[in-house]
Subunit: 337 residues, 4 copies
């Protein structure tokens, strides 16, 4: 296999580090330029000490010049910065954006939640959504989904597609802190996070809300909860169940919907997802039931926010874009305990 | 103040340990007999090393003989064992049960969720519920609420009482592991718990479901989630909001409902509860808003499951039963960070 | 009791918050001015949400004007800032410095480790050291010890005093992250801290090294280790044991040395200290043995770095300075689990 | 490559699970029989939910019959059970024991620390020790080192080999809880472990002590410390430095000793090891300095106790035994944050 040259913009952050962790084990790529902004000039050995083989690599500045000349460019940058970089890269370069800029189709929703002008819409990198995989094969611009939308969408899509529930869903998702990135905020300090659980972005103001709505075509009440772990999201999702739908019906619909999906794993009956089981893996673990007393279908999903929730999805999309086997360089085996 | 003699049955467990922690700081009590079952004969120095002043105390067996002769007896025992003990204690003894046996009024709900015969119904130890405080003054039998019901009830009761929402609620509550007690189960091992979040009792099967329903008079979809911390519950609670109700309306209703409550603290606008702020305290931290996009009122509450969620509530009830100031020996100051 | 007026300079940090947590439960004080630097003007409800009763209090700037007029002023400030503040406060004000400025007697050691001019030496706030308690009674200037020196000193002092070991000690101490304060450093982010243990200040460069040397009169190899918890220090301390000294000798020496100390608790034989048992408490838990195979006495101590390691010691010193019972407002009961 | 058939005895434990995680990514093996004791008959989907591809596999009983017929048999069993199993497997089977039974050469030391008869001595699976690698090539019986001895030995061996220090070392090693296995002990419960650090096996009684002594040829004071994380060991190791030896001398000795080692990584000057950087990886991160004030060389090492500390070392040894590239199926990339 001729190895593709890949560059990673934003290599000092958590998404960038996870991309590199995965790319180091990917047989089809060669790691080219690594860029940073304030960290340019520093070595990865200092910034990402877990990437032992890249310890001597030094970050370059994030410019079109540095990134040009690669087959694939991953962007792991703050929102609002991808469009300009992408514009400077040719159509022959596969650009995979881990940020939010090109995820939403609705420009008004973008502006309402992000407060800036909409940059556009790229093929949406959730191959498990109906029709999405086809659009990703050979694509040269791909928007990687948000971490919460990935697991929430996969946890509820089969129920909505099979018309088992009303399109009026409630998602409460517990996330590890790496989802917030390396930003130096007081509430992200270890002393504040350990032994602590808190809700944030309550009341429909989190920016992933319109993305989940877009994916599910449903009204969404979304509450993210920060829990004391570094990685992982556990989403508890529910919706009013339609009359006569049983837990068996729900399970059958999920098994059918994901029968051929390499990364979606519906757990055996009675077993419920846990984030530890998917750490570092690209797997999504799901379970579903019906609470007849409360009249709701309840589905729970677990992902690693940095792997299937970001960088793993990006690699999965790269594989599709390049015509490689979709699972190359990815695993469904987690690191536990 | 003449100090009351208090006994604690089940002193080796987490609820028993928390009772003793609080009672050691209570000016109105003297700690009498401490009992255990398999741990009888062992010293507290080994079993509860944080209770330094009681290190030399030795556990006695849990029998009526040992417990008789105290003014107050706290029961921190497995479900199904309180009735027999209580029957052997006179009506002049204040018996405060931290277990579930006497919480539910509906015998059928008891049997459906606990699988045994209903033992009866005692005054319910949530003074903040309308009418409850009066029933607790001078009571000699008290059922302490479950930890999840305490926070879920307080988080939603004002909205239901003020007719702001439909009686059809969704509660997803993240809990630390001490809520599961000291039982030696593989999924409670530190290696399994740390770096891990999991859902359990999904689909309306958790035993706290009928208790929340009873308190709120509403249909309840309840999902407990285990998160990697020892103490604390954060409950995210929501219900369909009635037409025209705003976030300001909701906030006003909560402020009014809890204006005179010493342990319920509605946070300043924009600040959301976190469990660390209530660790070891008897406070409940609450916040509420309305998600107009999703048509739901969302309330979030934080408690320490062992303090206000169990042992603190028990002490609060004891104070009411004995005619002491309700806040004696309790604090609203948490241990953070 | 007429309550003393106390002020806390640096009320937004971890030491300041812990001081306030303790002072809220102290029957002899009234909390006066609370000051901050960049946080002046903000409310404690936002900065220290666990201090529920002080939620409405607003921070004032840290100036001599604001602090003057109190009976006691606690300084919880960055190193190098206490001298100027203290100089502006009269000799009738009890000034208790939680920082390092006045801890060392050796001006050269100060300059070698802190890189600035020595500000002076105040009575050292470790009452358990021989002679120290007397110097603290009625003192109006007190230097609170560092957290690592407190536990390391108490863990080894009896062995050195009784001539059981050579004055050549090794201390490896695991600390929670609150010891590093609220500084916004990347390595203190929750994502970096959780699931992670690291050594820092290795090779004798940590600033607490000369303080331990001063207390013990011994050569000290000190390595601090950061572990994933918010609070607590566990110090493993050892030294070459002199010929013929047994574990029983060692234990007897420790029991004798601490027989009358209200806050030092030598654990029962066979039980070893754990930090959880002392969280929020002013207790020091100790155990000692002799490893005959390796020829070393090994002592292990646990403290809460914010309580006995900082704010609890400060309150203990205040009690001595004011002539109150030394244990007022302090407890030996920890918050566990 | 013809894939070898490998069996894992003890597949439900942490070492067994980690072996399977690694073997699933190893191109040279096919996973054969998986055995358990009390768990025989259960599916891996329930016992090891992170091993998604093996979810349907069912554990067989641990008997010679089940294990025979494989090219390689990994034993991840309690101490004292390997000898009998191994005796029933032919000399053509590569038997790799993750337990302690065959690690020690000194029968007396075995009996003193393990209390039973010595089973024998197998080639010791630490290829980085001088002479060890050669003995492992083509071996059919291999004893995998203990987790603490692996990191302690690698952290100090170069200093002793280069005669930089006295053979009188102090090791204090912080470990995650998975090192204690899945045993249902109260002190390993999540509620007890989180927010807690404790010492155990203090005073030279931990069973890894004679193993470290054997490897280093030195007197060893070893104290293990349990810290609140699932995986990882950070060992702080020191010894009296010989006159005139500088930090640069020490660093040069370590760089030289490990120049050709694929899994040992001496960090850049000034950077100290952290366990997060080696999670799931077979790397050992090391740093060394000299504390001239205290007269000691101090070296710190980090490993993942389940990977390089157990299962990764076992796979590394298997590669040597089978004549494969030593690094096959292993990585030096950690899972962080």
């Amino acid at each position: 296999m001729t190895r593709c040259q890949v560059a990673v913009a934003g290599a000092s952050g958590y998404a960038g580090g996870e991309l590199l962790r995965l790319l180091l084990g990917h047989p089809g790529v060669e790691i080219g330029a690594l860029t940073g902004s304030s960290n340019a000039g520093q070595s990865l050995g200092l910034l990402q000490p877990h990437l032992t083989p890249l310890a001597e690599r030094v970050l370059e500045p994030t410019t079109t010049d540095v990134l040009a000349g690669h087959d694939v460019v991953f962007l792991a940058l703050p929102h609002g910065t991808s469009a300009e970089i992408a514009a400077g890269l040719g159509d022959d370069v596969v650009v995979i954006d881990c940020g939010a800029d090109f995820r939403l189709a609705d420009a008004d929703a973008w502006t309402a939640f992000y407060g800036s002008a909409h940059a556009g819409t790229w093929p949406y990198g959730l191959p498990e959504l109906p029709g999405a995989r086809e659009a990703l094969r050979g694509a040269t611009r791909i928007a990687v989904p948000g971490c919460y939308p990935t697991v929430s969408t996969l946890a509820l899509a089969p129920a909505l597609a099979a018309d088992l529930v009303e399109p009026d869903v409630v998602v409460v998702a517990a996330s590890g802190t790496s989802g917030a990135g390396k930003s130096l905020k007081p509430n992200l300090l270890g002393s504040e996070v350990m032994g602590n659980t808190s809700a944030y972005g309550v009341g429909g103001v989190h920016r992933h809300t319109p993305e989940i709505e877009q994916n599910l075509g449903a009204r969404v009440s979304f509450t993210p909860v920060l829990v004391p772990m570094s990685r992982g999201i556990l989403a508890t999702c529910s919706a009013p169940v339609k009359a006569g739908v049983t837990a068996d019906d729900a399970r059958a619909a999920y098994l059918k919907a994901y029968a051929d999906e390499p990364f979606v794993h519906v757990l055996p009956p009675g077993e419920w997802p846990q984030t530890q089981a998917v750490l570092g893996s690209n797997a999504v673990h799901l379970q579903v039931t019906v609470d007849e007393r409360a009249g709701r279908l309840v589905a729970v999903g677990a992902v690693d926010n940095l792997t299937k929730g970001t960088a793993g999805a990006a690699v999965q999309c790269m594989n599709l874009a390049l015509g490689l086997d979709e699972t190359t360089g990815l695993t469904t085996v987690g690191l536990a305990p």
